[in-house]
């Protein structure tokens, strides 16, 4: 209304029209330019995020491949260095029977060959167990973890204990194996690097969330350390843990506990669609 009252003369009309239109046009162009720049910025940011995610995935893939290769080399070395010479020796003993016809010597060489074959069987069984622990397959995660902790405790190097509070229903076999491997990797790291005197593992559930917590009193990692190592070229085992947990869509947290004395590692995953009745698993 004020504007309309102001329009008293031709000159005023021209001025208002000119400046008003130019002003609106400038504002509009400014807005369009702003939106274009903003969108470009958003797209650049999204591309950067995507690149970072791909880099992270590549690092995990490389870690996973390297670990597989190392595992294969270890098995190849076990078979070549241990099983190979044992079987070759057994063959030598058995060959002696063709050369030496003395019955006593023959019996002795057969006995020696049998001993060596028994050792080889035990060796192959050990290799097989390290690939897939029979306790895990037959009795589940709880038994396998308890077994592992008893072995550690039995060695006398460390006090290790585990307690499963709520594991009435087993997870899927492949998921149990993944969690077991993650626990093995964590224990391995604690044994190698932390100089701890005890490890304690607890299992719990909260709604559909499944938790495994490890406490130890040695030198440990915090989440920042874990993330740093995850991005660097070292820390192959930790990357392996990450890639395994990614399959389960699980998370892992490294922290100091409330008292700031112990280190705590928490593995968390969703139990939905993962429950398997006990009868089925056995």
């Amino acid at each position: 209304m004020v504007l309309l009252q102001a329009l008293s003369s031709d000159n005023n009309i021209s001025m208002v029209l000119f400046f008003g239109t130019i002003g609106m046009l400038a504002l509009t162009i400014g807005l369009i330019v702003f939106i274009s720049f903003h969108q470009r910025k958003v797209i650049r940011y999204q591309q950067q995020l995507q690149r970072m995610e791909q880099d992270q995935q590549k690092t995990l893939l490389n870690a996973s491949i390297r670990l597989q290769e190392e595992e294969r080399q270890r098995i190849a070395a076990d078979l070549h260095d241990d099983a190979g010479p044992l079987l070759a020796t057994a063959r030598l003993y058995l060959n002696e029977n063709f050369v030496n016809l003395d019955k006593q010597t023959q019996l002795q060489s057969i006995y020696n060959a049998k001993q060596i074959i028994d050792d080889t069987i035990q060796l192959i069984r050990n290799i097989s167990h390290s690939l897939m622990p029979p306790t895990l397959k037959n009795f589940g995660l709880e038994s396998a973890v308890n077994d592992l902790f008893q072995k550690i405790s039995g060695s006398g190097s460390m006090n290790a204990s585990s307690r499963f509070h709520d594991y009435r229903e087993r997870l899927k076999a492949e998921n149990e194996l993944i969690i077991f491997r993650v626990i093995q990797e964590l224990i391995n790291n604690i044994l190698k690097h932390s100089n701890a005197s005890f490890i304690h593992l607890t299992q719990n559930t909260s709604g559909q969330r499944f938790f495994i917590r490890l406490h130890h009193d040695g030198r440990g990692l915090t989440q920042t350390d874990f993330e740093k190592l995850g991005k660097s070229n070292v820390g192959l085992g930790l990357k392996n843990i990450q890639s395994r947990l990614k399959v389960l869509q699980g998370k892992i947290f490294f922290e100091k506990d409330m008292s700031q004395t112990y280190y705590k590692v928490t593995i968390e995953m969703n139990r939905e669609d993962d429950l398997k009745p006990v009868n089925e698993s056995n």
């Binding site: 009309i13 208002v16 029209l17 969108q39 797209i43 995935q57 893939l61 996973s64």
Partner: protein
Amino acid sequence: MVQLFSLISSLLPISLFILFCTKTDIKGLWVIFFYLIVSFFSDSFLNSKWGINHTFVLWNIYTIVEYAILSLFFYLTLKLRSVRTLIVVISTIYFIVFIIMIKSIDVQYNSVLSFFSQVIILGLCLVYFFTSISQTSATVSILSPLFLVVIALLLYVACTLFLFIIANKLSAKEMDKYWGGITVYNNLLTNLLFSAAFLLYRFKRKNPIPENHTVDFTSPNDR
């Protein structure tokens, strides 16, 4: 001469739509096509013998039809439920006010009603832009035909807003001077942008952006 050129320029987006966009499933583009046809016939009528004698009737009818078409365009384009409800409510009020004022349809150009229709369209253009900005998806909305259409509408509204405010105060001579000067060039620009939008639609249909399939980097053993 320029006016004739402006009238003919509206045939460019119409023919481009018929050539390239008749198979489109974007309802907004169909609405714009309809809007262009209405504009073309309205401009043609204005230059006819009947149109010259009934300029105010034509302008007033064109204002309400234009508002109806553009609000329908935004109703179909904006997916926010609250905005859609708001469009329906405001449009209802707008039409009621128009009906109340219909008595003076042949007496003078309703500058106030026109101003409000322009402001509503301007507001809807801004809502469209800000909803596009807040989208987190990687879709490049700047390069979409609808984005160009909204830019065209925004420029059209921004250029003619002040003209519509003072339209009642202008004499026939001034009307010729300003109206012709601003609307003709504005029509040219808007029609070019509509044509660009239809061409962009054609280009995008011929060269669809490939879907981004994320590479599965998980180890075969872990799958």
